[in-house]
Symmetry: C2
Subunit: 206 residues, 2 copies
C-alpha cells in the first residue's frame, strides 16, 4: 500500500465537514488510507495570508450559505445551519491530538463525532464541555481530558501541528496532500480522485 | 428557450479563462445561451471584501500556480504561465462593452481572443495596444476604439457594470448566475450543470 493521504481540516469549517464525509471513500477506492490532521485556520494562517474569516468576509459569506447547502445535497451529507456561537475549534483540535496519542483509531471516530455534533446537530463545539462529552462517549476519561486541555504541553502540541501544516503550504480547510500534491477545497475531491487513478481512467470533469 | 445564464469574469483571472473554455458547451447542453459580462475584481470588489489580489496572497498564490495547470490539463485547455506584467484588465473590459454596443456577437469573439492572447500566448493584455489589435483583427476601427478607451462615457459604463455585478453578489471570477442561482469558481461548473439538468439526471459529484 502507498503512503496515506493527509487530510487537514478545521472543525469549524463546513467545507472541511463535507470533505470528511467522502475522503475515506475516495482514498479506499485507490487502496489508500487517510491521516486525519485537524488544525486551526484562525491562528496563525489567516494572519499570514492577510485575510479574514470566511463568514466575516462581505459577499463571500452570503454565497457560502447557499453553496454549502447545495454541496451537501449533492454529496448526500446532512448539514445544519452554522451555529454562530461555534467559532473556536481549539478545544476540539487539542482533544483530537490528546486522544490520538492514545489511539489514532479512536481519534478519527472522535473527529467524526465532533463534526456531526457541529454540522448535523448544530451544537457549539467551541464549548469544551461538548468536546469532553464526545470523548467520554468513546470511553475516554473526561477528567483527564479536562486537565490536558488546560496544559501547556497540549497547547504546544497543537501549535506545532499548525506550524507544520503551514510549512507544507496548508492554508484552507479542507486541504489534502497526496504524494506531495496539494488539493484545497471539497470541490477538489474529483481532482484528488483523478490524481489517485491510473492514467486515463478518471471520469471527465464535466 | 429559458433566460440566458450570466457569465461574469475578469480578463486577468486564470480561473475565468478556464471557465470560458467550457461555459458555452455546458449551457448549450441545456438549451441555454450565455451572456458574457467582463468586470474588474480589483476595484471596488476586493476593497469591499477586505481581501487582496490572489497572486499577492501568501500560500494561496503558490497553490494557485499548481492548481490552474492541473485544472487546465483536466479541462484540456491550453494554458501559459501568468504574465506578471498583466495585472490590469481595464482596457480589455472597457473595449468589450464598446464593442458590445455595436455587436454582442463580435464582443464575445473579442473576449475569447483576449483570453487566448493572455492565457495561451502569455501576452500582456494590460497594454491597450494589445487590446486594440485584437479588436482590429475583428474588423473594428482601432482609432475609434483608442478614442473611446479615453472617454469618460466608457469609463462610467464599466463602473456601472461592476456596481451592478456587486449588487447581484458577484465577488469572484468566474461567477455565473443562472435563474438567480450563483456559482463561483470554475470548480462549480459541475454544480451548474447539475442545476440546469432535469432532476435526477446529473452525474454524481465523485
Amino acid at each position: 500500500m502507498s503512503d496515506p493521504i493527509d487530510f487537514y481540516f478545521d472543525f469549524i469549517s463546513p467545507y472541511g465537514y463535507l470533505a470528511s464525509t467522502k475522503v475515506e471513500e475516495i482514498a479506499a477506492r485507490h487502496g489508500r488510507e487517510v491521516t486525519w490532521r485537524p488544525f486551526l485556520m484562525g491562528v496563525p494562517i489567516i494572519k499570514i495570508m492577510g485575510l479574514k474569516p470566511l463568514m466575516e468576509t462581505p459577499l463571500k459569506s452570503d454565497y457560502t450559505l447557499i453553496d454549502i447547502f447545495r454541496l451537501a445535497t449533492w454529496l448526500q451529507a446532512p448539514l445544519s445551519s452554522p451555529n454562530p456561537k461555534a467559532t473556536n475549534s481549539r478545544a476540539a483540535a487539542r482533544a483530537f491530538y490528546w486522544i490520538h496519542d492514545q489511539s489514532p483509531e479512536i481519534a478519527v471516530r472522535f473527529a467524526k463525532a465532533v463534526y456531526e455534533r457541529m454540522w448535523v446537530d448544530g451544537q457549539d463545539i467551541s464549548d469544551p464541555a461538548v468536546v469532553v462529552a464526545e470523548a467520554a462517549k468513546l470511553g475516554l476519561p473526561g477528567d483527564d481530558l479536562i486537565a490536558a486541555l488546560g496544559s501547556e504541553q497540549l497547547k504546544a502540541r497543537l501549535e506545532a501541528e499548525v506550524t507544520a501544516a503551514v510549512a507544507r503550504g496548508v492554508f484552507g480547510s479542507p486541504f489534502i496532500i497526496a504524494d506531495g500534491e496539494p488539493f484545497w477545497g471539497v470541490d477538489r475531491l474529483p481532482l484528488l480522485n483523478a490524481w489517485l487513478s491510473p492514467p486515463g481512467s478518471a471520469p471527465a470533469f464535466i
